[in-house]
Amino acid sequence: MGLEDFKAMVHRCSRCSYCKWIPFAHVKSWRFAKGCPSIEYHSFQSYSASGRLCISLALLEERISCFDEGLPDIVFKCMLDGCCDVACKVCRYDLEPLEVMRNLRFRLIDNGCFPIQDIPLIDNLRKEDNMMMARKADRANWAAGLSLKDLTTEKADVVLHVGCRLSFDEELWRIPQTAVTLLLDAGVDVGILGRDENCCGGRLYDMGYRGEFLKYAENNIDAWRNAGATTVVTTCSDCYHAFKRLYPEELHAPMNVLHITEFLEQLIAKGKIAFKKSLPLKITYHDPCHLGRRGEPYIPWEGRQKKIRGQILVYEPRKPRNNGACGVYDAPRNVLRSIPGIQLFEMERNREFAWCCGAGAGVRERYPEFSFWTAGERIEEAYATGAEALVSACPHCERNFLDALDQRGDSLKVFDVLDLVREAR
Amino acid sequence: MSTSNCKEALAQIVDGEHVCDNPEVIAAYASDNSFDPPKKPLAVVRPTDSSQVQALVAWAYKTKTPLVPVSSGPPHFLGDTVPAAEGAVIVDLSRMNKIIMIDRRNRVVIIEPGVTYNMVQPALAREGLRLSMPLMPRATKSVLGSVLEREPITNPRYAWSLTEPLRCLEAVLGDGSRLRTGEMAGASISTSAGQVMDYAPLEEVLEKRRKIQETVLYQYGPGQFNYYKLVSAAQGTMGIVTWASLRCEVLPEVEKFFLVPAPKIAPLIDFAYRLLRLRFHDALFIVNGARLAFMLGENRDQITRYQQELPPWVLILGVAGRGLLPRDKVSFLEKDIKDIAQHCGIDLKSNIGSVHGDHINDLVLKPSPDPYWKLRSKGGCQDIFFLSTLNRASEFISTMVSEATAHGYTASDIGMYIQPTHLGTSCHMEFNLPFHPAAEHEVQTVKELYQSASYALSGQGAFFSRPYGMWSSIAFGRNPMHTDVLRKIKALFDPHYILNPGKLCFQDTP
């Protein structure tokens, strides 16, 4: 589908602004009512989902051009976190604002209209297959000393994909290391692709580089097949989203994909992980967008929109709705709740309408100031719960929080779910 | 203009017998019970309908003759009906006293300015309705006068705004043209043959509207402004209102009154706040013993006796049942209110000594019998009233008391009345200072006290929202932009400043 295919949809946006807020039902305060970091930071209408829908229409009607100076910033200063999409769909069954915004990005990138900040990033990616400005050769350093199957040569049921962030962010290596320990201890037949693990491509896709994404996706799928894996487990929510949603959508390649927290939830339920220690800690959990509302399973659909009763728009056959209802929210919470001593407080914006960490869709790389501001807003919200630690299930979120905290000179603790599991064993 | 020229011209408009320059009558309009300086009008004219008013204003506009509209009968207390300009003609509207329409189903009444509460309430009662009223108005008080001047009503639950129960109206503006407002605006114009016609007669319009189920209740407009707000508390300076529609209450089938005595006002305020919050009240206000005594006592002696008998403060609370299950309503309210009272640590009583709840209903919540209660104690009375919020009442009370003491005025003689309004967002505070008009020293004391206390209270945060007499300089002095805007509005609706010139901030002709 291209941007043209969304013209009808764009005509039908009511410009109601629901996409700027969390679902109004859930508003609990003045402070945390907002849902869209983009418009909160940049103020102008164009920096909202509906604004970008208008821009898409203006482009399609050739009122503006892809090459208009300033347009890329308007389009890309957005995390594609999808809170707008959830809020819109509280009432609308026929709109896909996130899809439109994604296609708007493709249109710009296809026309060579990318922010110049991308140049070194993409150059490195092409050379080193990662988004971290790092060397491919160092990709498996985190796993040094762990006796793990190397799936480039061996086979295993489960492939553990740790992703670019965890492969190269030394401070966070403990996360995949813990994952490995837990999986091995539970007797799981697991391995990694090591240095040959590729970027999942998900972030590239969100940044507008669909072509690059496809390349990585194909490579990954091949590698997994060669390793004989039936299940992909990932410690990264971005990767999870790519595997769970984008791969089947773009490549029609269904895989059994689990986020590590889902896997842990199962292991705990089966009694394969037991906790020995109590962790007396007040925590709050941040739903990573890509695991939560955007982590819904992909369900293929082919059909058409038709009109009944004159003009009422319906899909035939029934089209699956991606409105955040089926994201992964409970698995990480269940894992956390099973840890003795932990007290879990919810932030006002949680689950399908959680506020974004600020790292998504290339914003951290392209617009760090905006990215940290977004993280800062979440940190404030975490503080408001009275929690001592902010826990998440995505290294991108965690890194962004850590850096934002650092910048603020703040000391809120940031953990991954795996950290607490490790500590309590 | 000479008196005779004027009289002649007026007689062309209004029946000769209703144009008057008889010195006694002139004198009666030349002063009132306020400290405002007296000034004799040239003549008094009593029109009988809207078209006469229109003709009068048109004439005055042409001749630049000041007009002072008066709708209530004497005694007056606020100086607003005493001419400030030379050569004024009093437009006494008391003959315009028709009740034009009562619509029970939609609970609305249309009346002319000369209608008093004593006229309208019985007529409404026959239909099962009544109008919310200010506290014990004098018998001659014009209903429209009271409403237009934003006098507070005793039931804050029905004070949806400070202008309630006012809805639509017709006014004659300073150039002699007419304006109908709210949903009566565009609706009542007939156009034909490409000409803008004048308004169709009211009855005709009402008849037409009845057929299309339209009412006279929507007050907003015409267009993007609210004239009815501009004519409120205007003391007749923005237009002469010739009729207005008012929203009525359903006449309660069951009504009970409680008196809550207290040595200090604080618990009564808490209690009042709670009731306001839940809207568990009909009449609801607080008075001090003196004020209640003034209202109940038929003469000086009785007043003194009541004053001795009554506690320092009394909250008066009415609960009422209307509509389908009135008894059930009162019964649940009684139970809940008792719980609330208990929570506030106060006693609900149906009587305090000889003062029974029924007294309140029969006497205090009705227009005052003659002589007007304000005059019964000493023959004269100067009021100080303003708006604030209920939580600040005590501060103003202590200021008033210390001002009185400083001026040698016996503080226990001050009547005090605290009326929550606008559904509890604000409250009207009123101090009554009775005095003997013949005792020069006393007059002087009260005059000085009135002035000094007004300044002190204003400094403390009293909002003189209806700035009569000396308060106009206090009130308008505090808000020059509002004053400037008002003058521009005045110049629009009364370009020659003929409508009660000299009042409010309208001293100088533009």
């Binding site: 629901y18 229409l57 319906v314 029934r318 | 189920q213 209740l217 009815y228 707000k229 606008h422």
Partner: protein, 550 residues
């Protein structure tokens, strides 16, 4: 025409470079509006009205004042909006700048005791309601829903809604106002202007609030209201509305002994009208609205099933409509409305329920049992209490307007106008959605009752030119029918869309009759001498001698 550089520089120095833009993409995002396609004279049948020349996002009253002064200096027209939903939010014509007030978004005060809040323009109802509830208070929410500006609804636009029976219309709930006049001077009304706080709307003397809004507010063309105090009412529920349910079928469970959603339904329109009078006279109800019929009396039951169930979709509509129990429900609900009873105490609710029973007994009515199902009860309570699902107005086709509205006494419900509206819509069914009677509206538009009425919804597809054309035709035919009966025009929304963007003579004359309108025009001349208010045509049109505005 782009702004002169000198003017741009000066404006920029007021708000800072990050809060002004001429970026074409952004300007178009401000020109896009609901209903634009229905005013083809301006939009060419597309989604864009005229775009502004620049957009500014001022941060406070001082900046607003400075901008307005510059506009006066340079003869530059400006238009202003808060949340900006609707055709009246787009600049009425080209050559204007637009002020987007989204940065002025604070709740400055909530006076719990005296029951009011002080807000800036970009505080939306959901926010204020959430904060008010923490203090046991609640705020009127306009029919446009929780996402709209409290201030703009009260001062600058229409503002009525389902809760007026208890809360009153927002006009009456305004206390003091801070208003940057079109001259750039700042008027503070009521007690605020005297430096005494926000509690009082009027005075001293005549209330200058009277020139800030009337039946309608200035719709962005009449200065800038920068702060208001708004009256609140009691909220006997929990400090935070507890939300349950899966997106989108959120629900709230409120204490059953104080909150009850009901669907009174009636055998005839006469009994429907009689019931309304009983409700007024007996003074029951916190919210009273004929809400769900917006989907049409033929579809409302099915639609309600869909939107309150997270697993359902619009494509289930046909299947549902064939189900006998839905057909029965459709019949039961045909002449019903939504009445939310809230007891300040449990005894209060008990009393109100008893009154409702008595009303139903006397009128032969019934309470539609559907609403007693726990999930439905909770869904309806949330819907009506927060008006958080208002974009459902657009769900069927992506576009709606109203067509055959009535605002009058409750007897209007029994006047035959409902059937007339339905007949009109049926005539065009196919080109617009075929849904039946879509007369949605408040049971009371005023505190304690008073005027009531409805908007006859019409669903059209903004993407389908023929459907768009049909919407225009229905609205115009509706107005003609109304005129034949001597009634005011029916199609409010299209009327406003047109009058705010075109010199639609007939409309302007009908909406604001020429004779009284002259006063408004004169006020405009006095308080906007340089004509810099964007001057949507409600303000700008001049009446001619033949009674039409020109």
């Amino acid at each position: 025409m782009p702004l002169e550089r000198e003017v741009y520089k000066e404006l920029e120095s007021v708000v800072g470079p990050e809060h002004i833009t001429e970026e074409p993409a952004t300007l178009f995002s401000y020109a896009y509006q609901w209903m634009a396609e229905l005013v083809p004279d301006v939009s060419g049948g597309g989604k864009f009205f005229d775009r502004p020349e620049a957009v500014l996002v001022p941060g406070g009253v001082e900046e607003v004042q400075a901008i307005v002064r510059l506009c006066n200096r340079y003869g530059l027209k400006f238009h202003v909006y808060s949340t900006g939903w609707g055709p009246w939010a787009a600049p009425p014509s080209g050559g204007q700048i637009l002020l987007d007030l989204r940065r002025m978004n604070r709740i400055l005060e909530i006076d719990e005791q005296n029951m009011f809040a002080v807000v800036e323009p970009y505080v939306v109802a959901a926010q204020l309601q959430a904060e008010a509830m923490k203090r046991g208070l609640n705020v009127h929410i306009s029919g446009a829903g929780a996402g709209t500006s409290v201030l703009a609804n009260a001062c600058c636009f229409q503002g009525g809604g389902p809760d007026c029976i208890y809360f009153d219309s927002p006009q009456n709930s305004i206390l003091s106002i801070e208003w940057v006049m079109p001259t750039g001077d700042i008027l503070r009304t009521g007690s605020l202007g005297s430096g005494l706080g926000w509690f009082c709307a009027e005075g001293p003397g005549p209330s200058t609030q009277g020139i800030i809004r009337g039946a309608l507010g200035g719709s962005g063309g009449w200065g800038v209201v920068t702060k208001i105090a708004i009256r609140l009412v009691h909220w006997p529920g929990p400090p935070v509305m507890p939300i349950e349910g899966t997106v989108p079928a959120y629900r709230t469970k409120l204490p059953a002994d104080q909150f009850r959603a009901t669907f009174p339904a009636f055998p005839s329109w006469q009994s429907f009208a009689d019931a309304i009078y009983h409700i007024y006279d007996s003074e029951i109800g916190y919210i009273a609205h004929r809400q769900y019929v917006m989907w049409g009396d033929e579809l409302q039951a099915a639609f309600l099933k869909i939107v309150s169930d997270p697993d359902r979709q619009l494509c289930d509509l046909e299947e549902l409509l064939h189900m006998p129990e839905i057909q029965k429900l459709t019949d039961e609900m045909r002449r019903c409305f939504q009445l939310i009873l809230v007891g300040m105490t449990p005894r209060d609710l008990e009393y109100q329920l008893k009154v409702l029973d008595r009303i139903l007994e006397q009128t032969g009515g019934w309470n539609v049992a559907l609403v007693n199902e726990p999930a439905m009860q909770q869904y309806v309570l949330l819907y009506m209490m927060r008006l958080c699902f208002k974009n459902l107005n657009f769900t069927a086709t992506g576009g709606f307007i109203d067509t055959y509205n009535s605002v009058a006494s409750p007897d209007i419900w029994a006047s035959g106008e409902i059937e007339a509206g339905k007949k009109l819509l049926k005539k065009y069914a196919g080109r617009i959605a075929d849904a039946g009677d879509q007369a949605m509206g408040p049971i009371a538009g005023q505190g304690g009752g008073g005027v009531t009425g409805w908007e006859d919804f019409l669903f059209y597809d903004p993407h389908d030119p023929d459907s768009v054309q049909a919407a225009i035709e229905v609205s115009d035919e509706g107005d003609r029918l109304k005129a034949q009966q001597g009634r005011p025009p029916g199609g409010m929304l299209l009327g406003l869309a047109r009058t705010t963007h075109t010199e639609e003579k007939v409309r302007a004359q009908k909406l604001v009759h020429a004779r009284e309108y002259q006063w408004q025009r004169k006020l405009k001349q006095i308080f906007d001498p340089n004509g810099i208010g964007s001057g949507n045509y409600l303000w700008a049109a001049e009446p001619s001698t033949n009674g039409e505005s020109t």
